[in-house]
């Protein structure tokens, strides 16, 4: 008898749950497309240990390596970032400051790709080249970023610039 009562209660609760779920899901369908991002995103937790991006950036700005290798390292981190981050509308990347923040965790997943204390960041949080100049990040399309170093003269858009195209190929002079 007692078991039978439990079964009735269980069926009743399931029915209420189903009706509530149906009602709520219908309401949601009427809403325009929205991001899954909560209104107040949780703060980014900085991991204690190096994250994959830090490992990919090991040896960044090492004078023993060619300067273009620095850009290749960043390119690999960016490729990893876009493999994980699928939301193309939240936290759009328009330049250096956006990309730097996104790698530090200001992204749809709140995931840290490069820790804030990485030498790739300047004191004001921008991605910098080995000469200390901010990199020029040029978004040609979603997931397609060209990265430019101002080179030794520390002036962007001059002949000594180093440019890595979104494909990962180094741009030829004047390209």
């Amino acid at each position: 008898m007692r078991r039978w009562k439990w079964l009735v209660w269980l069926a009743f609760a399931a029915t209420i749950g189903l009706v509530t779920w149906t009602f709520l899901s219908t309401d949601q369908e009427k809403e325009p497309l929205r991001s899954s991002m909560p209104a107040s995103p949780p703060p980014v937790q900085t991991p204690a240990n190096p994250v994959p991006g830090d490992l990919l950036l090991a040896g960044y700005a090492d004078p023993a390596t060619a300067p273009i290798e620095d850009l290749r390292k960043i390119h690999r981190v960016v490729a990893g970032y876009f493999t994980v981050i699928k939301d193309g509308s939240r936290f759009p990347i328009g330049g250096n400051a956006d990309l730097a923040a996104a790698l530090r965790g200001e992204n749809a997943n709140r995931e840290v790709f490069v820790r804030g204390d990485s030498p790739v960041f300047s004191g004001d949080g921008l991605l910098v080249d080995r000469w200390g100049s901010p990199l020029v990040v040029h978004p040609e399309a979603w997931r397609q970023l060209a990265i430019r170093s101002a080179g030794p003269d520390r002036r962007a858009y001059t002949a000594d610039d180093l440019v890595l195209l979104p494909s990962g190929r180094q741009a030829r002079p004047g390209e």
Binding site: P32, G88, G94
Partner: protein, 489 residues
Amino acid sequence: MPSRRQFLGEASCAAIGSTSVLSTLLNLTMANHAAAQGGFGSQRKSLVCLFLSGGCDTFNFLIPTEPGPYAEYAAARSNLAIPLNDPNPSNNIIPLTGTGYGLHPSCVHLAEMFNGTGSFTGKKRLALLANVGTLIEPIASKQDYLSGNIALPKALFSHRDQIEQWQTSVPQGMQVLSGWGGRAADVIHSTFNTEQTGNYYMPMNFSLAGNSAFQIGRSEGQFVITGNGALTFDGSTGNSAVNQAKTQVTQDTVASPIEEHYRNLFQRTHGRITANSIERGAEFQQHFDNPGTLNSQNVDAVIAAAPFPAHWISDQFRAAVKTIAIREQLKLARQTIFIEFGGWDHHAELLTNQRNMLGALDGALHAFQICLENLGLSDDVITFTCSDFGRTLRSNGQGTDHAWSGNQLVLGGPVQGGVIRGSFPSLVIDGPDDIGRGGRIFPKLSADEYFCELLRWFGVTAGDMDMVLPNIRNFYDPASSSHPVNFLA
């Protein structure tokens, strides 16, 4: 061409006399078009889209001139600010009468067309739209943007995505691309371009800039032309005897054998499309090379006399004038023309590049509009601009970077000239209209509202607007009797 009154009368009689429900529905659809547009095919109309690719810095094109707003502008733009009171007057902002705003000093003729002065005395032909951009739904405030509760366009600030979104007007992104000009052709080509009977077919969308998403519809496509006319398979243009012979050889050696000998469906279809394309090209070229007279004016002579600047973009505008002038011969009551002026991605050398390029744009638009006026076409043509995005207000030292909202211009006889529509934003860095990181202004006016007003004029009915602009109801009811933006007279 039947008059609107005549058509409505005949359509009503046909509907009453018909016992077929389908027939009645068809007549009602036709009447809807006629009633909505104020004339079924009685007036030819052309829409000219000028795409400024690269992302034009339009906050140095339309500039506040009142002391307070100008001070904010000058502070935000620092070394890139255009002066108000430079000792050399040709460096100063050109005032737009009665607005509190002005244009870049290179835009002398655009200012005349706005103010109704100079060669446009008494004819205000230019309106400006402030703070317009790609949106899925309205954003009331910066807090709304930051809340994460508003659907945002995919990949803001990136060239390719934003170009695509201006041309598709679907900022969510599309699996299969179609542009709003192409979708407009899907719904109106067969209802307006009714002079095309039998086997005659001429597309209503012409591109002077190769293939663009803007003019690709689900069933209608675009016809790519050059400054010299139709494209040919060997790349030559023009209607010389040599080119005619080459075309004939192509038809004989490529299209016909495929049509005749191959049984594969794809090959046969390809052969047919190739042959049709060659025929359409020849048809177009014949009229393009001999545009004749329009309203007693020799078309070639009018174009030759117009003050087009010595710049490559002028070729596209000259070809656009001709393509519009021959629309009757092409049996087109509706046509769109796509022109692209690239090179506006001014991360460096912004001031010098913009001065030169805005000067070329100003001169070409001026000469283009003069041609239309002299050929009696001004009341039937609207030219409008789009660009990937606006640019950051803050200087990077040499230029500006990718941002979001910007300002656009609309030009033509049907335009309510001399007005600035939309809400010009605060230009304070990190101010109420800046979403951050260098003065990136969010749009208060959607590209959908902008395009909807153009499409209503063009003949797209309220019922068809959802198909052409799928997000429009987030901003405006297409059945409304008032314009969405109100820049048309």
